[in-house]
Symmetry: C2
Subunit: 260 residues, 2 copies
Amino acid sequence: MMAGYVQDTILLFGDSITQLSTGPGGLAQQLSDVYQRKLDVLNRGFSGYNSRWAIPVFKNVFAKKSEQPNLPKVKLLTIWYGANDAVEPGGPQYVPLEEYSQNLSTLIQLVKSPSSEWYSPETRIIVLTPPPINSAQWAEFLKTLELGLDKSDRTVERTKTYADAVKEVAKKEGVAVVDVFELLWSAAGEREKALERFLTDGLHLKVEGYKLVYDALIESISQNFPELHYDKLQTAYPDWKDLSTENYAGLVKEPLVKRH
Amino acid sequence: MMAGYVQDTILLFGDSITQLSTGPGGLAQQLSDVYQRKLDVLNRGFSGYNSRWAIPVFKNVFAKKSEQPNLPKVKLLTIWYGANDAVEPGGPQYVPLEEYSQNLSTLIQLVKSPSSEWYSPETRIIVLTPPPINSAQWAEFLKTLELGLDKSDRTVERTKTYADAVKEVAKKEGVAVVDVFELLWSAAGEREKALERFLTDGLHLKVEGYKLVYDALIESISQNFPELHYDKLQTAYPDWKDLSTENYAGLVKEPLVKRH
């Protein structure tokens, strides 16, 4: 029986768009709030990383089969890469489209394949597509870095091809997908300029952007893994109103972490 | 070598004032944000709980010595109870002042005593005093519950005696303390009415209240455990700019979680 403080988890694996989501209104913050006393939300976002660099990192941040019995279970894993893979060829973060698809399949298979050292059949997986880029806004941001970069190293068209690849991989691997690209692109009336409503710098999400992603993720959980919706999970430890000086001693005996 | 995803942690142990702090601007949210890729912030707040009920819960949420080798280390533990203990005698949550002090000492000794099953010498401890109550505001809130409660079951004077007890226990046990009561009380000019600036309902904290607590907690970390200040901790995994297609393979070999 594991210690209660290693409550089961939602593992958010991705790049800066995941890493920065602990801010107010961010994806990790909103999930932490609704999953209070139910699941811990672990932010495993790595700014600037692409799907190629993500693989060795994942092998270290995700527990091996041999370690899993002593550790919290990852009930839900989100994989959200592509925003960096999709830079123009030549950029240090660039990953060719075919390799990107292969890398996503590899990450999924590390968890889903019974022959994998990281096999975790209890872990549900949702992959997310990269958000659309506002190249004009991003170019403006790059200028402020004063690195001599005067144009965007990403285009909405190229990122779209990476978003489409995620959907193909999700279909092939049989995992759920949240199409962040389509979500923001359609909400912006398919106009890059209008993406300013959702993006801070043309690449990263504002609260308005995270809100759409959060709602879509919860909807995906409801549809694909309803048992993991926060309303379906029991709160760890009894409600205080069910305790009293008379019965609290029972706390000592009964398993305090009530798992669903 | 443990899996990287069980990053070391800050464990926030307390009542609803801790539990609700995952909201935007809350204590857990702000800590999660500044400790990105450094320490995981685990919210172990239990709404309505007092220090008596906290003891059996703590024995379950904090890993035993025998379990600790396989689990994330708790680098920092905050203990924040008293807001419920301090209700009027007769209320189901009431804990007499002397027992409250003893319960806090017990919680601290569970971690600090070498003879304890939960002994964790690496864990730094900060205790927090309960915030001052705005009894008029709290009475108004109780009325909205329509339970026939027309007066506050807490007073600022009584809560003050519990806050003072925390400071005595901290001194006796040799742990750090953040005096939330004094912090908010002085910021409010020692006027209950003025506490509305910091309290949502007379008992729970607004963003303005959590901001004061967060700043004081970081200041306490700087003074008492400088090695745990987020600026002193190395980020897990290299900065992406130090990676490249040429050297990323090195990631596979080198230990990816760089611990301080």
